[in-house]
């Protein structure tokens, strides 16, 4: 039995495996990790059995979604501290999750250091979970989308100060 809390560990293990492509299938669970993180549809995907454990994260909050969607569209302001910044964008339209499961600590917080290829969030489309990966190394400067909101394709989710 695989629990959703195990998923980040599995993804991490696959990501660090050095394989260009790796897949794991366990009953309903399907995880695929690909090193071609620059291609929006080639990121790692994992499927988790959604009902109970994910239900807590699903919010019927259209206002929240509208807020997030409208805030996400304009380019984010340059964060303080100088240096080049880069946005990590949504690989698909879907529901954005900052943490691997309800109640778990978020993948990243403002101020965290990230490396290229690191998972920084999840976008779920019809129960298919697409990981969002950092494409550069740096420090998380700003997080634009709240947990559980609808994000659009290519919407900036997280700004990273490169370096």
């Amino acid at each position: 039995m695989v629990y959703s809390k195990d998923i980040p560990d599995i993804i991490r293990a696959l990501s660090e495996s050095g394989f260009e492509d790796a897949e794991v299938r366990l009953d309903d669970l399907y995880i695929r990790v690909s090193s071609e993180s620059s291609r929006p549809d080639a990121g790692s995907e994992h499927r988790r059995p959604p009902p109970e454990n994910a239900a807590g994260m699903r919010r019927d909050d259209p206002d929240g979604e509208r807020r997030a969607a409208s805030e996400g569209v304009p380019p984010p302001k340059a964060p303080q501290g100088g240096g080049a910044v880069k946005d990590i964008k949504a690989p698909t339209l879907g529901t954005f999750y900052r943490a691997p499961s309800p109640g778990a600590p978020p993948f990243v917080k403002v101020g965290d250091r990230v490396v290229a290829g690191q998972t920084v969030g999840i976008v779920e489309v019809m129960k298919l979970f697409n990981t969002v990966e950092a494409d550069v190394a740096g420090v998380v400067a700003e997080i634009h989308a709240e947990d559980g909101v609808l994000v659009e394709y290519d919407q900036p989710l997280i700004t990273v100060r490169v370096g």
Binding site: D41, E65, T92, L93, G94, M126, L128, L150, E152, D154
Partner: protein, 454 residues
């Protein structure tokens, strides 16, 4: 189906039809959310809808064809119905089923109707069962003697077609029984050498074919209505360019039989919503044969709307919301003659080559009895990712001659700068005496090589 009002519609399409659906909803007090590709973020539909959600990249495969993403956007934006428009996912039974399982009303026919009509041989069988004429023909021919018997049964001219055929090879038109033996041998030999398969079919050859289709509406419970026919004979490589109603080729008695045949077919499948039954009309014998049924709103639906004054998109939504059709056949009347030209971003001087680019000038014609359905504005960029339809110009006149006069005036007035369009083609086509006489066939444009210079 219980009558639950629709509060908000998700528009899973782009271009002029997305604009058309948003407008229909607005007039009915229904909210709209449109799913757009990255290229369409600032489209007219995105501007007019209450909300636009970017569902994917420029490619249709990554956006307008992604049923899973569109359905996610539909649910997350609190829509209770989805309008698929035409093309894209509009005739995918599996997508319609996914909508229904997700509790989203699909504004279209039942998924089973889409499925059954989407399979040509299935649709032909159902048509035949409903007593609708289909093109006379046969399964595979066993030998020359078989071909001769078929010729005696269905008459000449006969068309022999290779089973593995394509591009006219292994194809022969047989004018009489005297030619059948040599035609059979030639076609079979040709098919064998071209495709490695000498097997042939035979069917009635329609020398002077016209494309005439009937608009129907149904409530899904057996009540079906017709909204008369549209004549779409002006085609280029099976792409419709000009549509009109009434058809100049139909006598009242033949029209009556064609409308009845369309109703018989729609009734047979308890059709729900708007659909179109297409026929091949043989202008020499005045027979008509079922071609296929399109289970969606059609590009050329405004022709019927202008002819009858009935808003077909709103009717689709009403049927989806209430499960009822409040119209009666006697409420539906024709007025005058309507002609539509499809204005595409194509260069008619260069074999209708697509002509994407920035529209620098956009001045559609204006006046009484004129309708322009478009998504274009001056300054817009016509992107190369989707079909090239820019606008549909629809005019009405009291008579066909009046409608042609008005159309010519409107085409002269229509000013588009920055890109090439099919306007010059339409000017030449509607000025042509054959078009004026209404005696053209579906091969007219290819046969006459009609170009603006002609």
């Amino acid at each position: 189906m219980t009558a639950v009002p629709i509060r908000r519609v998700f528009v899973a399409n782009r271009g002029e039809i997305a604009v058309r659906i948003v407008r229909a909803c607005k007039e009915m007090g229904i909210g709209t959310v449109v799913g757009v590709s990255a290229a369409d973020r600032d489209s007219m539909a995105a501007r007019l809808a209450d909300r636009a959600l970017c569902v994917g990249p420029n490619s249709a495969a990554g956006s307008y064809l992604r049923g899973d993403i569109l359905l996610h956007a539909c649910r997350a934006s609190d829509c209770d119905a989805l309008h698929p428009g035409y093309g894209f996912l509009s005739e995918r039974a599996a997508f319609a089923r996914d909508c229904e399982s997700a509790g989203i009303r699909f504004i279209g026919p039942a998924p089973d109707s889409i499925e059954v009509m989407g399979d040509k041989s299935n649709a032909r069988t159902i048509a035949a069962e409903a007593g609708v004429p289909v093109v006379p023909g046969c399964d595979l021919l066993s030998d020359v003697a078989h071909a001769r018997r078929i010729g005696e049964t269905i008459g000449y001219p006969l068309l022999l077609k290779a089973r593995a055929g394509g591009g006219g090879r292994g194809m022969r038109i047989v004018e009489s029984a005297r030619e059948i033996e040599s035609a059979y041998q030639q076609a079979s030999t040709e098919a064998k050498s071209a495709f490695g398969d000498g097997a042939l079919y035979a069917e009635r050859y329609v020398r002077r074919g016209r494309h005439i289709e009937v608009q129907v509406l149904g409530d899904g419970l057996g009540k079906v209505l017709h909204l008369f026919e549209r004549d779409c004979t002006t085609q280029r490589r099976h792409q419709k360019l000009i549509e009109e109603a009434p058809s100049p080729a139909l006598w009242p008695e033949v029209r009556r039989r064609m409308l009845d045949a369309a109703l018989d077919l729609a009734r047979r499948v308890s059709y729900r919503g708007a659909g179109t039954v297409e026929f091949l009309f043989d202008a020499e014998t005045e027979e008509f044969f079922f071609l296929e049924m399109n289970t969606r709103i059609q590009v050329e639906h405004p022709v019927t709307e202008m002819l009858t004054g009935i808003d077909l998109v709103q009717q689709q939504i009403l049927v989806a919301a209430s499960g009822r059709l409040d119209l009666e056949q006697e409420d539906i009347a024709r007025r005058g003659h309507v002609i539509e030209c499809r204005i595409n971003a194509e260069d008619p001087d260069k074999g209708f080559l697509p002509s994407p680019g920035r529209i620098t000038t956009w001045k559609p014609p204006q006046g009484e009895n004129i309708r322009v359905d478009t998504h274009c504005r001056a300054g817009d960029i016509v992107v190369p990712f989707y079909d090239s339809l820019l606008a549909k110009l629809i005019v009405r006149g009291d008579t066909r001659a009046d409608a042609i006069d008005r159309l010519r005036r409107c085409l002269d007035e229509f000013e588009v700068g920055g890109i090439k369009t099919t306007i010059p083609f339409h000017q030449a086509a509607v000025a042509h005496p054959a078009f004026g006489r209404g005696t053209i066939t579906t091969r007219w444009i290819e046969e006459f090589g009609l170009t603006p210079a002609a």
